[in-house]
């Protein structure tokens, strides 16, 4: 009986994530079935690499969104760390490790700037991160005034390759889920972030360190963005300081987070959903490929699928029987 009840609670609280998982599985299955040459390691690696990249950015976005904030600078941090890494991830293994560490530190520093602005400066996150993203873009231009990069081929090939059938980027993502997300979910800081997002004043009254929770969320966002930047460096073995690219990544990350069932008002959702959301978004492109969609129709198709996907997230609201619940 108790087991049963636990399961039903779990289903109740994870319905949107499950829905996202089903959508992703359906889309990916269609893709695999329609593949002209069938499934191969190459196919999996390709899908994994681009999916994991967006998934990491979406993961970064998830933390601030959980606190009820938002980070419009995740894309800019990805580009900034990408530009930095393109200079340093080379040489002997020790140098490569140093370069990776430097990249992560750079991302953490970017996150810390946002955290300072939001927590100490008490700025509204949306505008604070908007301002910081231009700063990060400026720094990217310093790191990399023109496109290029010097990245170790072997390391990059290895990290963007596969062990047997399993893409390494996917392994890294799973490792992050296990080593960062699971402990986070059951840690005090994780609980604080959920509490702050759900009801900030109640959290404060209860003695939660609101500032600490918010700061942690932006720093974690910086950290995950830096990992994404590193992955981008390894995928492209170069970097280009591009604001368009940064903006695209940011907007896609928000879309992925929402598709994954994390509420933009905070307090509800989580990393697994965002990751699924990212993979769903990326699979749209793959479907265009296998369906051989007419070139000029593709952008429209992508827009419509995005709208439909986020619309599905709103389905529970159609079941609302108390109209008050539909209003904030």
């Amino acid at each position: 009986m108790a087991r049963r009840a636990s399961l039903s609670y779990w289903l109740h609280y994870n319905a949107i994530v499950l829905l996202a998982a089903l959508i992703f599985i359906a889309m990916f299955a269609v893709y695999l079935i329609l593949l002209p040459r069938g499934i191969s390691t190459g196919i999996m690696v390709t899908a994994a690499n681009k999916g994991v990249l967006l998934a990491l950015v979406a993961a970064a976005q998830t933390f601030p969104v959980l606190t009820g904030g938002i980070d419009l600078s995740v894309g800019a941090i990805v580009i900034m760390t990408n530009c930095l890494a393109s200079n340093y991830v080379n040489g002997n293994p020790l140098h490569i490790a140093e370069g990776c560490a430097l990249t992560l530190i750079c991302g953490l520093a970017g996150g810390a700037i946002n955290a300072l602005a939001v927590v100490v400066g008490r700025l509204q996150p949306i505008i604070a991160t908007l301002a910081s993203s231009t700063v990060f873009y400026g720094i990217s231009l310093l790191f990399r005034p023109e496109p290029g990069g010097d990245v170790d081929d072997d390391f990059a090939s290895f990290m963007t390759g596969a062990i047997g059938w399993i893409p390494i980027s996917l392994i890294i993502l799973c490792a992050l889920l296990l080593l960062v997300w699971l402990p986070f979910r059951t840690s005090m800081i994780g609980r604080s972030i959920y509490a702050v997002g759900s009801a900030e004043s109640a959290a404060y009254m209860s003695g939660i360190h609101v500032g600490r929770a918010k700061a942690a969320s932006y720093i974690l966002a910086g950290f995950f963005s830096a990992i994404a930047g590193l992955l981008l460096t390894l995928i492209s073995e170069s970097a280009q300081a591009s604001m368009t690219n940064a903006g695209d990544l940011t907007l896609n990350s928000i879309a992925a987070v929402v598709i994954g069932g994390t509420s933009l008002f905070g307090g509800v959702g989580g990393l697994p959903g965002s990751i699924l959301g990212a993979f769903i978004l990326r699979t749209i492109g793959d479907l265009l490929f296998v369906l051989n969609a007419p070139a000029l129709w593709q952008p429209l198709f992508q827009g419509v699928v995005l709208l439909v996907a986020v619309g599905l997230g709103a389905l529970p609201l159609l079941r609302v029987r108390n109209r008050l619940e539909a209003f904030r």
Binding site: L123, A131, S132, Y204, L251, L296, G303, L306
Partner: protein, 319 residues
Amino acid sequence: MPWLAQWLRRHEPSFLIGCGCILLILFIGGIYNSHFLTLPYLLQQLQVASYLGIVAAGAMTVILLGHIDLSVPWTMTTSAMLATGLAGNFAHGILALPIALAIGAAIGLANGLGVAYVRIPSMIFTLGMNAVLQGLMVLYTGGSAPSSSATPLGIWLSNVHIIPGIANAVFCWVAVSAGMIILLRFTVLGRTIYAIGNRERAAYLCGLPVRGAILGAFMLAGIASAFAGLLLTGYAGKAYQGMGDSYLMPAIAAVVLGGTSIAGGHGTYKGTVMGTILIVVLQSVLAVMQMPDAGRQIIYGVIIFSMLMLYGRSPQNAR
């Protein structure tokens, strides 16, 4: 100067600090090059500010609700392209205005329906809408090569000076601003917008037309974007894909720098006007000063940061 003292007392500190910042930027620009303080330059900034200002006016109605409209870029582009393409030169392209506004309204309606009725978060629905509009415009330009040069009406509204020195676009902005002030201060819709931004549920239980107001606000935002798009065709001489790209984020920044809470329910229109001018002047001064791009970007971000620190902070905790 008692009037000055009175003027200073009448306005909240954030607004005054913002105005001070504008003067400071111009002053620093003036040290670099005295042309920054000449009337033609300032009037020219006013013209450029009109386009952003009109977009920001629309963005503000939506932000006051506690929502956001990310479909601004392609709303501008779509209405401008369709208006120039469909109106052509028939009767001086007079049809461009109704076409643009109707398209803006239609896009706003779609946004409003998605947000108010289907209740998809606006940030994501309008983002999707933006993508759909882009897709539609790719199809539109791909099917044929529609005319995209500005209609005479668009040029007249935007670039002709009925009063020498001041472009008509400035008067368009003044008209939109008058409309905004009336809307926000004296109409039921305006009051409802503030109420929704404050506490939607309470507004609903008061029997205020919550959904209608959301719909209305998004339509107004769509119309404002479309109007700005049309004016922009007159300024640049044509409608082109991507013409709205550089207006979304600055418009949001202008609204927030003007003291409107991004969570909704709080803010005055004069602040938005101030924020618009601030952004335009800052961009312009930075653009003309010769320095590497990196420096330009960093300084732009840092200045916005510092200004927010001066006055844009959220209220302190009870302590």
